[in-house]
Amino acid sequence: MSSMNINKDEWHKYNSKQRLFNWVCWLCFITLAVYTWQVMNQDTIWYFVTDSPNQIADISARMWPPRWDYMSQLWVPLWDTINMATLGTLLGIMLAFPIAFLAAQNTTPSTYIVRPIALFIIAASRSINSLIWALLLVAILGPGLLAGIIAIALRSIGFIAKLMYEAIEEVNETQASSIRATGASSLQVLNYGVLPQVMPSFIGTSLFRWDINIRESTVLGLVGAGGIGLKLQESMAILSWPQVTVIFISILFTVVLSEWVSAKARHAII
């Protein structure tokens, strides 16, 4: 009746064939890991690595104490950073909104042409980091906040549209079809049947993305897109580590604050 062989001395989760297979898999995995480690480190200068404790001690000594009076120069870049993230998120939401409806299986006008295009836009936007978008846009639009805002927006499209189209695909069909039964046009069905169902998750996603964008916009200045990253770049260039410490602390503070705000707002809405 029971297929287990109770006469065996010891109980094993897998039979011997499976165990051999698992063992071979692990062997391949570890070999691959060791091999990639070798390839990765063929150009590593180990002297620098073994010397790093000294470097850590050296840099920490230079970073302390922070130059607090530098803070007075940081308020404007911080304000710019927050604006860049907020305006970028807004622009991203506006662009992601139609794309999400075009990408969702149940609302897309055509499964064969429009949906793959929308999905490709989402994938492309998600796979390229905002810093790379900023690198491109600074070359095209010139350095400044505008490049940063558009970079943030382009990166947000994929994230917001992906989470939103998944929410749209999960909506309750009965409500949409009852609106349709009253003779509503397809836009009216979207407005009264689908939209109210996805709105909370949409707002939640946007707030979550805003929080991530604040984090990302702090470094966009490194490639010239404005904000506090620009100050970081300047301070690193003149090796003024006490200023770098102040910048790090202000970034940490902003990030923690924005995370708190976004978590509170999401709890209030959902």
Binding site: A33, V49, G142, G144, L222
Partner: protein, 266 residues
Amino acid sequence: MNNSLPTTWKKPPLIKSAWLRWGIVIFSIAYLYSATQSIHINWARIYEGSERGWTFILGFMNPNFSGRWEHIYTGLIESLTMTFTSTIAGIILSIPFGLGAANNLAPKPIYLFCRSFIAIARSFQEIIIAILCVALFGFGTFAGFVTLTFATIGFLAKLFADEIEAIDPAPLTAMKAAGASWLQQVNYAVQAQVMPRFIGLSMYRLDINFRESAVIGIVGAGGIGGTLNTAMGRYEYDSAAAILLIIIAIVMLCEYLSTILRQRIK
């Protein structure tokens, strides 16, 4: 009695209190106005740059893979090896941190230590950690490896800990009652419950690490990002477009494979 029934219907507003609703609207308009004041748009510069933008779009239509293939190849190998090794190292290190940060397994002091370590690791962008690592370990892939490992610990340890805190406590109690040691409890009561999610999250992080490895090269931590930065600096937009297309293709492939793997594990 009011006999006439309403013939039209209006959607109820999202926010009930009219004061709050209009307050939010006015605040948003005021904020938008003040925020847009800080943007300086230099139309002449944009006009100049639009030509470059057009070159770039043309580059996308006609990417040049062969021109800088050697650099692209080295960058790709660096990125891929860095991704793989740092994900493995990150997973190995995030397991003790994850166990330590779960309040149903760890004593209070260890819990607080691990949680604060995770919080610090998570609040800094990879790129900032990369800047520090390049300063400490010199240019090259090793700095990138350390950066990604550090970021992986922050990401995975938090999710692992949350996952462990959400397990069904009954098996854990049963193991305790049977007199199992702490390690046996973890092995038989916790690991069995969290393993599928654990593997899924690790695969997801592999994906993220590849994307990040394309960025940290900009500050000199090795990988395809450095190649991209050089290509952009030389105004070789066709090579840059080729690199971007390769990144997109690899990320999509990674995502596809991890979806398949996660479905099989479930």
